[in-house]
């Protein structure tokens, strides 16, 4: 039993600490940390090696939310949606509370998704295999429809940003014919514009420029020394349904191979806003929005690990590395693993739970000291953020062009934010555009050009119907209110 082994806890702690560093630095990702750590676990016993790797994974996704809350810069793509409510909370002087909710949400999301893995991993993962090109296209369309709910003030500006994102996402090799598009004959953008440098620029650099420019009025209000980090009972009750929603959405999206916490948390945030009784607070420091995005980002871990362990399929880059690590230890993930070695499966579930529990403790203990980062003098903090942005965007591929992409995105983000264009639809389109395009075309190759394939496959139809329904719902509601003569100005 790994839970009684002190050495396992030791390696787990090492993994958690490394994970917090990799997750919190924008541009450095969980995948990168895992890939660097994996060869070093070669000599460790399996339990301890897995403890270290799982610790890193859980902690990195959790800690990606820390810079999202404190400096409006997601540490990993999974925490993009965390910036939408986390940062406004920090601006209101509630950074400690936001960090506490992030730790709490991370634990709930991870624990629920791990329990789902333990109880129903195989059937759910087998169901996820039914996602073919047509279903992925419908899922991407559903995700892209979230543009409407994350457009904050002006729908027109939001949609414009979404179009810009889709336009950027077509740069690079055509997914079917391998024909280079909009690369201007240079090799630099053959594989498209890398997403992480864009994200780091749009959020990190643009945020620094905003603060430098706005100076006094935009300054963060520093957290009070005795500010609480644990939410009150009433706040917990209000957040609970949204935490559950986030966990379910995150686990579900995580199980689907190729879709992860970045997509999951944005969808969860959008859905949570639709179902909330206070949708107006979303994007202005809503605890419900924050907890929905945090839980979903972290629940995607359990989802992806489920697919990896039960089917042996790498659902995302991080689980691809984990498969490599398991192979080093002579374990082949897949249906056989759970059939032949059930004791191992229960060990893995326990290690994951230990990792998420330790992450939770470290996260709660760290919330107060971390919130004090905001008391660093602005000039120094800005300088540090810029350095990390440059390092993070270069570290990804060690390509000079990524640093330029990051700086250009930073300047663009600054200008657009000055003109009050929202960033959400842009990143959503960048993530989902390639998924929508490639799968639309794959589905049409498979059906020999017959578009009815999107209307005859049940999962695709359901997803497209939900999309249509949620887009039309506000119109229907307005009409029915008008016809029943109720006051329609209430929200």
């Amino acid at each position: 039993m790994p839970i009684f082994d002190p050495a396992t806890w030791l390696y787990l702690s090492a993994g958690v600490i490394l994970g917090i560093v990799f997750g919190a630095l924008p541009g450095f990702t969980a995948t990168m940390g895992l890939a660097i750590l994996t060869p070093l676990t070669f000599w460790l016993p399996t339990d301890q090696a897995l403890a270290m790797l799982f610790g890193l994974l859980c902690a990195a996704i959790f800690s990606g939310g820390i810079p999202a809350i404190l400096i409006n810069t997601p540490g990993t793509p999974a925490s993009i949606a965390t910036t939408w409510d986390g940062y406004p909370l920090a601006q209101q002087g509630k950074a400690g509370l936001a960090l506490g909710v992030n730790a709490f949400g991370a634990f709930v999301g991870q624990a629920i998704s791990i329990l789902v893995l333990a109880l129903a991993g195989y059937p759910l993962a087998a169901f996820a295999l039914r996602f073919g090109p047509a279903e992925y296209f419908a899922l991407a369309v559903f995700g892209i429809s979230m543009m409407v709910s994350i457009s904050s003030e002006s729908l027109l500006k939001g949609l414009l940003m979404g179009m810009l994102g889709l336009a950027i996402s077509v740069v690079g090799l055509d997914p079917i014919m391998a024909y280079p598009r909009l690369t201007f004959g240079s090799g630099a953008f053959i594989e498209g514009v890398s997403f992480i440098p864009v994200m780091v620029g749009l959020f990190g650099v643009a945020e620094v420029l905003m603060q430098v420019y706005a100076r006094a009025p935009h300054r963060l209000r520093h957290p009070l020394p005795l500010e609480r980090i644990v939410p009150s009972g009433r706040e917990l009750r209000e957040m609970a349904p949204h935490a559950l929603l986030g966990s379910i959405v995150g686990t579900g999206v995580g199980i689907i191979p190729g879709a992860g916490g970045d997509i999951g948390s944005m969808i969860a945030w959008g859905q949570s806003r639709r179902l909330s009784s206070t949708p107006g607070a979303f994007g202005h420091g809503s605890l419900q929005g924050l907890v929905a995005s945090c839980t979903a980002a972290n629940a995607a871990i359990g989802g992806a690990v489920t697919t990896m362990l039960t089917l042996g399929i790498p659902g995302d880059a991080a689980s691809a590395v984990l498969i490599g690590a398991l192979l080093i230890h002579g374990l082949q993930p897949g249906p056989m693993l759970f059939r032949d070695r059930p004791e191992l499966a229960s060990d893995i579930v326990m290690l994951l739970l230990m990792a998420s529990f330790l992450t939770f403790l470290v996260g709660l203990a760290g919330a107060r000291p971390l919130a004090r980062i905001l008391t660093i003098r602005d000039e120094i903090l800005w300088g540090l953020i810029l350095i990390v942005c440059v390092l993070g965007s270069y570290a990804l591929n060690q390509a000079q062009v990524d640093v330029w992409v990051m700086l250009v995105s930073g300047a663009l983000g600054f200008v657009l934010r000055q003109a009050r264009f929202p960033m959400g639809p842009l990143v959503l389109a960048l993530i989902l555009g390639p998924m929508a395009e490639a799968n639309l075309r794959r589905a049409l190759v498979l059906s020999q050009g017959d578009v009815s394939v999107f209307l005859t496959r049940p999962i695709a139809v359901v997803l497209l119907a939900i999309t249509a329904g949620s887009l039309l719902w506000p119109l229907i509601r307005r009409r029915s209110r008008r016809s029943t003569g109720l006051n329609s100005d209430r929200d």
Binding site: A35, M177, P335
Partner: protein, 326 residues
């Protein structure tokens, strides 16, 4: 000199002493005297990265200097290759030679030239395996051919212009059955689509499918190699089935910039072959389902040229990439 000057003097002395610290950076001792970097074209996590990290650790033990695997990802792998080609040929920069380097130039969007490199050694190979769902009832290549004559067969590949796409094209020509190619981003996605029944067949490396074969979900009909794959000992080779020229594999090697001094080259090669011959590497390769094959210097270079010619024909026939537009 007053005592209040003492700290300032100390600072000055320390400042003057800085050149002493860099004294070691003058004329170098015997090669290797400092860190060597191994440039990898793929992101952390993939098989090329795993091999490179494993080998770099072995090299480090044998050469006594740090050997760091550095991922330079982009431009379909040619970013890393042009980086190596442009580096000083001093033995401190070596690179991973992926099979793609013999394909990408034919697709027309890379200026990497095979003549820019000093070829050190081939390290591993993984043959193309033709995999189908076990539920199809196709148990042999003949069943596959018969099915293909009757209806459209959708073949998932790891991407347009990838090695497994070319293997599919070569297969289609050899068995004279048209195939519809559905490119995915990487083998993982293609195999996932095969498991879900969204495509009828996939060409991939044995290690990419063997877990599913052992679980009884997928079946490999044949491998495109001269000898059977140790991972799939029951699976026949295409050459034994009467397709002698159908041998395609994803190989990997190591290279250095052109013009590397022969003594350094020998030193590197000696350390590399030692790593590749070690039990540890054998174990690693077995676990990852790779076949170790060492082919040094000129033999490796000739092999690369042959592969490039072969793939050039396939790309031109299929009209892929920019070649298709001309």
């Amino acid at each position: 000199m007053g005592s209040e000057h003492a700290p300032r003097c100390a600072c000055l002395l320390l400042f003057l002493a800085i050149p002493l610290l860099t004294a070691g950076c003058g004329p170098e001792g015997p090669y290797p005297a400092r860190e060597i970097r191994l440039v990898v074209h793929a992101s952390p996590g993939g098989i090329s990265d795993a091999v490179s990290r494993h080998v770099s650790r072995g090299l480090q033990e044998r050469l006594g200097v740090p050997v760091v695997a550095e991922n330079r990802v982009g431009a379909a792998g040619s970013l890393a290759l042009s980086f190596v080609a442009r580096s000083q040929a001093d033995g401190y920069t070596i690179g991973y030679a992926p099979v793609d380097m013999t394909i990408i130039p034919h697709l027309g969007y890379s200026r990497v030239s095979l003549g820019d490199f000093e070829y050190l050694t081939l390290h591993t190979r993984a043959p193309a395996a033709l995999a189908v769902p076990a539920s199809t009832g196709w148990t042999s290549v003949d069943d596959f051919i018969a099915a293909g004559r009757e209806r459209q067969i959708n073949m998932g590949t790891s991407g347009s212009g990838s090695i497994w796409h070319l293997a599919g094209l070569a297969l289609s020509r050899a068995i004279d059955v048209p195939l519809t190619y559905v490119p995915f981003s990487g083998s993982g996605q293609a195999v996932t689509a095969l498991l879900g029944g969204h495509v009828h067949a996939v060409v991939a490396a044995p290690f990419e499918v063997d877990a599913h074969v052992r679980a009884g979900v997928l079946r490999v009909l044949a491998v495109m190699a001269d000898e059977r794959s140790p991972l799939l000992p029951d699976v026949p080779t295409f050459s034994s089935l009467g397709y002698p020229d159908l041998t395609i594999d994803a190989w990997g090697g190591f290279l250095a910039p052109r013009g590397l001094a022969p003594d350094r080259r020998e030193r590197l090669l000696q350390a590399l072959t030692d790593v590749l011959a070690s039990d540890e590497f054998a174990r690693f390769a077995r676990e990852r389902g790779l076949e170790v094959e060492v082919r040094k210097g000129e033999a490796f270079e000739q092999f690369v040229q042959q592969e490039s010619e072969r793939f050039g024909h396939l790309v031109a026939q299929a009209g892929l990439g920019l070649a298709g537009a001309r």
